[in-house]
Symmetry: C2
Subunit: 580 residues, 2 copies
């Protein structure tokens, strides 16, 4: 209130601005214009006035930055990412904020199944009082596990009541269409709070996409071709063009720029970024630059990472553009086609200059429960991963997960020999074991299956992160090493581990929710490289073996998945036994 009164005073020249950026070109994302000789004055965290003449608002106490003709754009926004994976906010911010990103919207779906609503609140608390703004989405909990499916009603209500929870996170389309009784009430509650439904419609088209859109989903970050983008835009869906570590779709999608369409509902997003990409490429500034390099009009490219995102989330009253009353989030770049931050202003404060963060992100102290999320009361045994044959024949007809790519799998049925009344792995035929062991709801509850095409000839690899479930995921060519992996994770209170011949070969501690480390980005990157090398040594040559294993339980990527309850083909979503 007093701040707003002072803002009026600054605009009217009755009080001095706190900060003035003068002599800039300004990209006005509202009109799409590039305006010369512009200045912007702030009052505390907000913009008070702007234009060619703001001299009346500059006083002796005003910090004046002469842009010398450089270009001022709004702070960049990442509308969809996953920050509950690997690094904490303070480590991340060192690299994420220096390039001009001032707002980030993150999913929380990794935290909820393993740490509940208290965990999500602790996770979101780690983003408060940081140099830039963070928002989150409540997890719908689309899971291949029936026990984990659907967020609890009270928990949802609690999360939707938080100001920094601005929507419901991605709800994978197939599960929504298959289980409307679970997800439509969750959607209703979210819409009743005036918050948006983030979508995930990978591969959907035609009538299935429309059935999903009809559930009032308002975004999708999964299109990989311009035609898929166009189909979604025509349905009124905000399309987030993904250019991050999990996929890079911008170059392919850029053809949309030649389709002569209204671009107001196009958004750029990372969907998550690895430490290495973050250090080497940068963050949202890299995406905007790439969009320009792919031929997007520079103003449109900037709108895709500012105003359009803000409008989608209903945050454009606060962020997304440079105007009086908005938060003073601004980036000085050399010119509108060169997204290279010389100065980053967030909430009215200069936080970075010439690629260096000038402020110290806050290190959050996570709650004890968040640091003790591996609830296994006894060590795992090799026998936990044996597969008993329940039939009477010499061979068993068995459902097997087959790797199609490093992330996509399919269901195959194989006839396998039975020995000792067990179904055994067969490394000669690249057929090894995969197990999901619950670490949260029914600790120790384990389902073990078989997986083909993994390349592993010895040892095991495991992770306490296992997307969309409450599990530890472990893949192994040796049951003793599988147990060793799990037990090392148990000792670490979370982590990723590679074992071989009874020894731990590589490990990455992830003590926060079993998902995140407190290491720096540089240290983390080294650890990930060690895990990769460890995986390679046992025959696993996927580009990101950690991502490959955590995705084995995921409900988002086709087709054949595992959880503590059994196997699930996403085509019908039903839980299946190993033996068919």
């Amino acid at each position: 209130m007093n701040e707003k009164k002072r803002r009026i005073d600054v605009a009217l020249g009755r009080a001095p601005a706190d900060l003035a950026i003068v002599n800039a070109r300004l990209v006005n994302v509202y009109t799409g214009e590039i305006l010369d000789n512009q200045s912007v004055c702030t009052c505390n965290a907000h913009i008070a006035c702007m234009g060619q003449d703001v001299g009346h608002a500059i006083g002796e106490t005003t910090q004046v930055i002469d842009a010398q003709g450089a270009t001022l754009i709004p702070g960049l926004i990442d509308g969809h990412t996953h920050l509950a994976w690997l690094f904490t906010a303070d480590a991340f911010l060192k690299y994420a904020a220096r390039g001009g990103t001032t707002t980030i919207i993150t999913e929380t779906l990794e935290v909820y199944p393993v740490a509940g609503v208290a965990g999500v609140l602790d996770f979101m608390a780690s983003f408060k009082n940081q140099p830039i703004k963070f928002f989150g989405t409540a997890p719908p909990m689309v899971s291949v596990s029936q026990a984990a499916n659907g967020i609890d009603t009270d928990d949802l209500e609690t999360l939707l009541g938080q100001d920094d929870i601005i929507g419901l996170g991605e709800s994978y389309w197939q599960s929504v269409i298959q289980n409307p009784d679970i997800y439509l009430p969750i959607f209703e509650k979210t819409l009743a709070h005036g918050k948006v439904l983030e979508g995930h419609s990978a591969g959907a088209r035609g009538s299935k996409l429309q059935a999903y859109a009809g559930c009032e989903i308002s975004s999708c970050h999964e299109p990989i071709k311009a035609e898929e983008v166009l189909e979604r835009l025509r349905l009124g869906i905000y399309v987030m063009i993904r250019e991050g570590s999990i996929r890079r779709d911008l170059a392919q999608i850029a053809a949309i720029k030649d389709m002569n369409i209204d671009t107001r509902r196009l958004i750029l997003t990372t969907d998550g970024i690895t430490p290495k990409d973050l250090m080497e490429m940068g963050y949202m500034e890299y995406l905007v630059q790439k969009a320009i390099d792919c031929g997007f009009d520079p103003v449109v490219a900037i709108q895709m990472a500012t105003l359009n995102v803000a409008e989608h989330f209903g945050l454009d009253d606060r962020i997304g553009g440079i105007a009086p009353g908005k938060l003073a989030d601004m980036v000085l770049i050399p010119d509108p086609t060169t997204i290279d931050a010389r100065c980053v202003v967030s909430n009215g404060r200069v936080i970075a200059q010439d690629g260096q963060l000038d402020v110290s992100p806050r290190r959050h102290v996570f709650a004890s429960a968040s640091l003790n999320s591996i609830h296994l009361d006894k060590p795992a045994l090799a026998s936990d991963f044996s597969i008993a044959y329940t039939g009477t024949g010499q061979t068993a007809s068995v459902r097997v997960i087959e790797m199609v790519t490093d992330l996509v799998t399919r269901e195959v049925t194989m006839n396998l020999p039975v020995s000792d009344r067990q179904i055994k792995l067969d490394t000669d035929n690249d057929l090894i074991k995969v197990a999901a062991m619950d670490r949260t709801k029914f600790p120790g509850k384990t389902f073990t299956g078989l997986i083909k095409g993994f390349g592993m000839h010895a040892g095991a690899i495991a992770s306490s992160a296992a997307w969309d479930t409450t599990c530890i995921i472990v893949v192994g060519a040796d049951e003793n090493d599988m147990a060793l992996c799990v037990n090392r994770i148990r000792d670490l209170n979370g982590g990723a581990v590679v074992c071989r011949d009874g020894e731990v070969m590589a490990e990455l501690p992830l003590p926060i929710f079993g998902l995140m480390t407190d290491l720096s980005i540089e240290q983390l990157d080294e650890k990930i490289d060690i895990i990769k090398q460890g995986a390679k040594d046992i025959g696993v040559s996927f580009p990101d073996p950690l991502l490959t294993i955590v995705t084995l339980t995921g409900a988002a990527i086709p087709y054949f998945r595992i959880c503590e309850e059994g196997l699930v083909n996403l085509k019908d979503g039903k839980t299946k036994a190993l033996q068919s």
Copy 2:
């Protein structure tokens, strides 16, 4: 919930659509495209699916409309109007809905001062269960009367808690800047509810406009030139181009179309329409047609009355475009440049065809309090309008309202003769009396002043509507006729009256809040003509004399105004005595 499940079934071809419009061109306001061979299917009130092939969704029970190549556009939206003036919803809808308008957002500021929050709720109740959708804005109560200034906190909370109250109504900029202590808390509360602040920045520019924008105002419907539009758009403000009975700004503003700017924040609005204009010109369809005729791209013109408005109010999850999950509000027109509704669908139901409304709007039964809003416990006397001279001289220095146009006034000071210790009117010099008599808070409290340039040589005219106040406004060349006007209004429980020589010459009963009639649009139009003729007969030749007198108390139009407390110059907002 069950409806949404059926919507999924319709999209997937598992259940028949209720309505299918086939073989249409479709204006897709999201992408800005015009697409051929399109069909749209509905499920109850919503759209279920659309596209070139929807055959799977059409069953035996589906009502099929063959568009035969006609063009389908979203239902039109009027984002700013005043429906608490003259006609009721049911009378209005006969003309308003047939042309393709399916959503209207109205101010409520006329009702609140004279009928309180209960009156506003009754007013809003009159729009429920109608063939089209209505939303309202809560009144900030910017008034020249200190007693009426600022909505009560509890009342505001009650109104903001209503689903159909989607923002705070127009807050005139000068008063906001002058009285931040009154209005900023009201703004805060509205923003905390996630609702928008409607603006009114007539004539503001530069630092004053920016000070106002900094209060987080998000729209303005007052620009009259393209340059004013551009200045506001650059500040992130949604600009409503007004083309209605009070002003017609579209032709002048149309130059904005050649300024090569992003038009997403441009909106078309009426700001109110008279019965005659409504009958003769139509409603929002007239505005879109005129925009096209003024050279706007047809798709942009349609976006200005659909998607852009919906996005401004955060209603685009429901309305503003044709897509699965949105309400089925659609209009069939001959082609994209001819806004002539052949068929209007609202909430999935055909409500009008070929210019005829097919449904009967509901006639609302107003509460007894709403019909008894003139709280004068005794008749007025001529002496209520005498002006006692408090000084000792032969002449008095007196502040006088001078008419500049039919709506704009200015403050002049005149030396007037004193006779019988009174200051008297002087019709020979076109100097007559104007009085504001409270009918609500302090019934009978009256302030009488002088007005110049009205042209009245006999009689009096009065109205129980007097903008932004709790008053009856009366202008007269004869104090007996002034009293007679007030007493006739009292007998009618509200109305507009012209009297002369002790006789009622013309009257329009306005029994609902003293603001609205239950007459049909046609009957009302006749009555207004009779009032006009009556005013003319006593010398008043303003184009809309009723509008002229109700504006005399208004806080929106410059400069010199009257209320029961005294005279107010909007330049400083301070209450002044008659004698200077």
